[in-house]
Amino acid sequence: MNLSKPALYIVLLVVIVAAPFLLPAYKTQLATLWLMIIVAMTWDMTGGQMGYNSLGNIFFYGTGMYVAAVITIGMVYDVGDYTNAAGGGIYAFTETQYFTGLVLGCIGAGLFCALSAILIGWPTFGLRGPYFAIGTLGMAIAAGELVSNWEWVGAGQGISMPNYPGDFETFKLLIYFIFAGVGVVLFIFLKWLYTTRFRSAINAIREDEDKAEAMGLRTLTYKLLTWSMAAFFVGIAGGISAFQLIHFEPLETAYQTINLGIFMVVCVLLGGKGTLWGPIIGAVLFHVVKEVTWNYFLGWQWVALGAIIIVTVVYFQDGLMGWLKHKRPEWFGIRVEKKDQIVTEPAE
């Protein structure tokens, strides 16, 4: 088991690198798969590990898009003038300007979202259970409405990003690898984070927050930090999407509460809450099913999605990983009551 683990990771890494070359026609879908993985893993940080089901994480995605756009454009032109002209030809970007914008825009998006998670989390983390879910959803909807009325960032028209200075296939490859890179970094980060006492603390908050407080845990600090770390990665993902989509607008693309905002939750429920791999497996499953239904059962795709959600929620509440955990607890290091032969008390 231990020996095969590095081998497993090497195989995975090879697959990740080879995928866009083996399936060149699907580069964009593969990039979107990474987006799903990122938003599912980050959603699970609060929803699965900490027991706070946010329906507002899409806020960080949309905000990340806008922050990346404003940074990229603002470094070269006046943002108001640019959006007024709606991307009319006079606004050219050099190669250097484009790539500087890509790097700084995405990092800036992550940092901005990390900070806003702390500011928004301050009042909203006073809410628990369904109130927190609805509170965060309300925030995302409100943000979408506000932005779609904000002329400076293009209001309902949205924003057009600069075009990639190169050929389109290379561009798709680049976007794939940026998404994949962020996804891998996020995975490594969470794999490490979940070995520290930070995880115990947020798990304790999930299990019984009143008890955690009574034991002196700084619950608000943990909650804010967790959401902030999640928001950082979602913000970056939003920034990448802004470049990928070239043109985006506030309600359908950026603050898309009913699409990506819900999909990320479904991915986690499918794969299994509160596990490292659950959200990833869920995202892959969900994305494949979604692409298939979108392509072959057009018109029925929402029905199919609805059916998946219902089946998951009714029959597999703990998702695939939860079901496995139940069937094979020993794979997860969980011990169930049995006559313990191995454990003998050390004589003192």
């Binding site: 006492r197 930070f198 115990s200 299990e207 407080e213 009574a214 619950t219």
Partner: protein
Amino acid sequence: MSAIIQVDRVSKSFGGVRANIDISLTVEEGGITGLIGPNGSGKTTLFNSIVGYHPIDGGSIKFRDLEISKMLVPEIARLGLLRTFQQTRIYGKMDCVQNMLISLPHRKAKFLEMFRRYSSEEHERAEALLDFVGLYEKRYLQSGDLSFGQQKLLEFAMALMNQPSVLLLDEPTAGINPTLINGLIDRLKRANSDFGITLLVIEHNMRVIMNMADHVYCLAHGELLASGSPDEVQNDQSVIDAYLGAH
């Protein structure tokens, strides 16, 4: 001995229910103080007031001369004033060792500590304390699968892991098998004598109180009815009447 907790004329009402009326009591440092009274007399409410679970209507609560009646639950806990719950509270999906580790004190915790792993000394201490309460064999079981009495023991061990200076125990022997109660009394006493933890104990079991406490307070209908040595309180006519009247 000096007072470590001073409750001075504390009142608390829930709507029309006056759960605590002008209650004053002191807990001596290093001792074991008992708190008794019929069901609904306001014992748990007083605990909740002391640890900051709800705002009090009036009065003052001091911990080592520090006014704590306006402080929040986790702040008070970090001062070293800890409570266990009458309805036992543990982290059900975690195993016993994890329950213990997360109970380490957060008093001096620096920011980066959050991102450290638990050390092997901390693991050893967790196991030693689980051994102390008799749960060593069960240490890797999910705590939610333990029996109620075992969960009660686990919660006690978690409190010890936190190294409090004062521990408020809400009915520690409720639900514990009578044959094991003597063992538990012994452990409570050792927590007091060996670990130096001051105890304030709510108990319905008179034998437990008689065995442990050096001072006892009795509440009835939200008011302080009597106080004194266990013997004095047990033989106090108003106390006897309150208990008989409650049935």
